[in-house]
């Protein structure tokens, strides 16, 4: 898969949801230790319901009050702020020199990452909560109007639009050939990236709020029907499914042969990716709707606070009483963890 970011990637960079288009924030092994102190704290002035991204020392984060903040990751000082016309729930994503994010009025903005000025905007018919995904010069995103949009990454001009059967809050997983996305109509879709044509769709028992990961030829995704699914990426055939105690809105993290997913029943589940067999199950204390990320030997999740579990055993390793967000994913960058909280505070922890 071609990375869209034009700049030479730095190991600490995290330019889109779960690090990159391969969602490797959920698949890489990165060193993370228990945080001992807060390096800085930044007040966004509004609740943060999305995940931060990090690129070349600048943290980009949206807040529900319509702001995109560019924050110096070393100092916690604002570099610039951009105000959108409506509330923002979308996690930003980097495409070349542009920061992309969706808005509740249906607009998707591309903002210059250096100057904080709008480069282009495009409109869907309803709110865009999913994170725009950039691949091969095209930006893909789903909207609550039930449509998937493909627009030119440089200009924002429409390439194609595909209507599905329900609201889309799932962030698209893009490969060169295909897009994978969950939908409120209870189906998981595979679309042709070039045309938006539906390659396959597979039903689940209820709507889908979770974003997929793709690993080992499987599309891995949770449904509000309480099941976690592994579908053949080529055909959509269900290879296995695992039942949890309540609906699944969290997106999975994959490491080696292990897939970690959280459920609203308050547990994290570690499943063998190829078989769906349960390796371990750990109580998070509160419900889990945020995606998990994997560090060196641990899996991190925001659920009440920020928690780290031993990847091999599921035993709680550490807990930080910060960043109690419902949706936000911590950014793991070297010895620093960046968190966005429901209360609107952004933290850098060391």
């Amino acid at each position: 898969m071609k990375k869209e970011t034009a700049q030479r990637p730095h190991s600490a960079d995290w330019p889109t949801l779960l690090k990159d288009n391969a969602r490797s924030g959920g698949q890489a092994q990165r060193a993370v230790h228990a945080p001992e102190r807060a390096l800085w704290q930044y007040r966004a002035g509004g609740s943060a319901r999305s995940s931060p991204i990090l690129f070349e020392g600048i943290l980009f984060v949206t807040s529900v009050n319509g702001m995109l903040h560019a924050i110096d990751a070393a100092t916690g000082l604002a570099k610039w702020k951009f105000r959108a016309d409506a509330q923002v729930h979308s996690t930003p994503s980097l495409s070349a020199d542009r920061v992309l994010f969706g808005c509740d009025d249906g607009k998707v903005y591309a903002v210059d990452r250096h100057a904080g000025m709008k480069v282009w905007e495009t409109s869907a018919g309803a709110e865009v909560w999913a994170s725009p995904v950039s691949c091969n010069g095209v930006v893909f995103f789903g909207s609550a109007d039930a449509k998937v949009y493909a627009v030119d990454a440089a200009s924002g001009r429409a390439r194609w639009v595909r209507e599905l059967g329900g609201r889309i809050y799932s962030t698209i997983y893009a490969t060169e050939q295909h897009l994978y996305v969950g939908c409120g109509d209870a189906r998981v879709y595979c679309l042709e990236a070039a045309s938006g044509k539906v390659v396959w769709s597979t039903p689940t028992g209820n709507g889908i709020d979770s974003s997929p990961a793709v690993a080992g030829g499987l599309v891995l995704i949770g449904s509000e029907d309480f099941f976690f699914y592994a579908m053949d990426a080529n055909t959509g055939e269900v290879r296995w499914k695992y039942e949890t105690g309540l609906g699944i809105a969290s997106s999975p993290a994959v490491s080696g042969d292990l897939t970690i997913v959280g459920s609203k029943d308050g547990f994290l589940y570690a499943l063998e990716t190829q078989t769906g067999h349960l390796r371990w199950k750990a109580a998070a204390g509160e419900l889990v709707t945020a995606p998990a990320v994997i560090g060196e030997g641990i899996v991190c999740i925001q659920s009440g606070g920020t928690l780290a579990f031993d990847l091999a055993t599921g035993k709680l390793v550490w807990r930080a009483a910060l960043g109690g967000s419902l949706q936000s994913v911590p950014v793991l960058a070297g010895d620093t963890i960046y968190l966005a909280s429901l209360g609107g505070e952004i933290y850098a922890l060391q």
């Binding site: 609740s47 529900v64 039930a146 609201r167 709020d209 509000e224 029943d265 419902l326």
Partner: protein, 386 residues
């Protein structure tokens, strides 16, 4: 006497009646603080509607129940579709679902569906039922863009994943982002009282109720409530419409009686609330409203439909009370100081413990305010076979 004085006087009178209605032992043992003066300010010049509380069918409650409506904690869309259709026809006496819905909404209405997502994901207004309500409203000719599903806290709506699970086109609105955050409220419509010496003495009505919607379909859940006894149609309307209501509780005391009923009398909330559909798929008999402990949540498969929130909540209260009796838990009316705990973990795991002296009398108090029928003997409770 102007309206402000009249309302104040009326409220004090009502509150006095309520205090007098309590068991003498209760007063002696719990020393509930006296109800302070409460001022209510409705929307100036608003013309009340005959569809408003207690609505077209005072005292009538239709109950439908089917064990197949919820299996392994999953709500069945086809079964709730059938149950709701059956209940709507029984409530209205109409021969078709569309005709039944047309009793309450017109094609030109802006319809607000007031959900109860607090307690999500373990117990909240089921998206499956909300889908059927949307379908019913659309059967009258209301376009999707004129249907708004709303509640106070958007983060609770997110936990329920309503935004992904409901049909495209309808709006989903959280009035406030979070507990302490601001929101959209009408400064001229409020309830003013100082319960415990709090610095902010007003609770304002949400703009979505005062100015946006023309009809409200209320979808409470069937739950015990640590403060008010149960949370049903009345509380879902009152505490889901006004802000700054947590100030009515200071453990172990609560002024949910009479505040819940009083708030429901304020226009235009009273007039716009035309129909109540109680989601009893899950029945929380202890730990409400927020418990996630499945031990206290029965999968009952019940749906109640009424225009009278007092009658509906009276039926609910009886159901929760009976469930607690069956489970060996103390009555919701129990006012034993030994049952009070400040340890929320203890409360959540021990059905004999509570955080407040519950006030289930708020339902009868609302009845005395003219919002409906609270006497079980006078309630036309129609139980339909599945």
């Amino acid at each position: 006497m102007d309206r402000r004085t009249f309302v104040k006087a009326g409220c004090i009178s009502s509150a006095s009646l309520l205090i007098e209605g309590l068991d003498p032992m209760v007063r002696a043992d719990t020393a509930q603080p006296p109800v302070p003066p409460i001022e209510l300010h409705g929307l100036p010049g608003y013309k009340p509607s005959s569809l408003g509380l207690p609505g077209l069918f005072p005292g009538r409650v239709v109950e439908v129940r089917d064990p197949a409506a919820i299996v392994h904690n999953r709500v069945s869309q086809p079964v709730v579709r059938r149950l709701l259709d059956q209940a709507m026809k029984e409530l209205t006496g109409e021969g078709s679902g569309a005709a039944a819905w047309a009793k309450f909404v017109e094609p030109t209405d802006i319809v607000g569906i007031k959900i109860n997502p607090s307690g999500a994901p373990a117990c909240c207004s089921s998206p499956e039922i909300i889908r059927e309500i949307i379908s019913g409203v659309q059967s009258v000719g209301v376009p999707a863009r004129n249907i708004v599903v709303y509640d106070r806290y958007s983060y609770e709506i997110d936990i329920g994943s309503y935004q992904a699970l409901l049909p495209p086109g309808i709006r989903i609105v959280g009035i406030q982002e979070a507990f302490a955050a601001g929101g959209e409220y009408e400064p001229n419509v409020y309830c003013d009282a100082s319960f415990f010496g709090e610095w902010e003495t007003r609770s304002y009505m949400a703009n979505i109720v005062t100015h946006e919607v023309t009809k409200i379909i209320n979808v409470p859940t069937m739950k015990d409530h640590s403060a008010s006894g149960v949370t049903g149609a009345l509380k879902n309307l009152a505490y889901g419409t006004f802000n700054n209501v947590a100030r009515t509780h200071r453990a172990p005391y609560t002024f949910t009686n009479p505040v819940i009923g009083l708030m429901c009398t304020v226009e235009p909330l009273r007039s716009k609330s035309v129909l109540h559909i109680m989601d009893g798929m899950r029945q929380v008999w202890h730990g409400g409203p927020l418990t996630q402990v499945q031990d206290f949540i029965d999968q009952s498969g019940i749906l109640l439909v009424a225009t009278d929130p007092v009658a509906m909540d009276t039926v609910e209260l009886e159901a929760i009370e009976k469930k607690r009796q069956d489970k060996g838990a103390p009555s919701l009316w129990q006012q034993d100081p030994k049952s009070i705990t400040s340890n929320s973990e203890e409360f959540y795991h021990d059905a004999s413990k509570n955080l407040f002296f519950r006030q289930p009398g708020h339902i009868a108090a609302a009845g005395r305010l003219g919002l409906g029928v609270a006497d079980l003997k006078q309630i036309d409770h129609r139980r339909l076979a599945a």
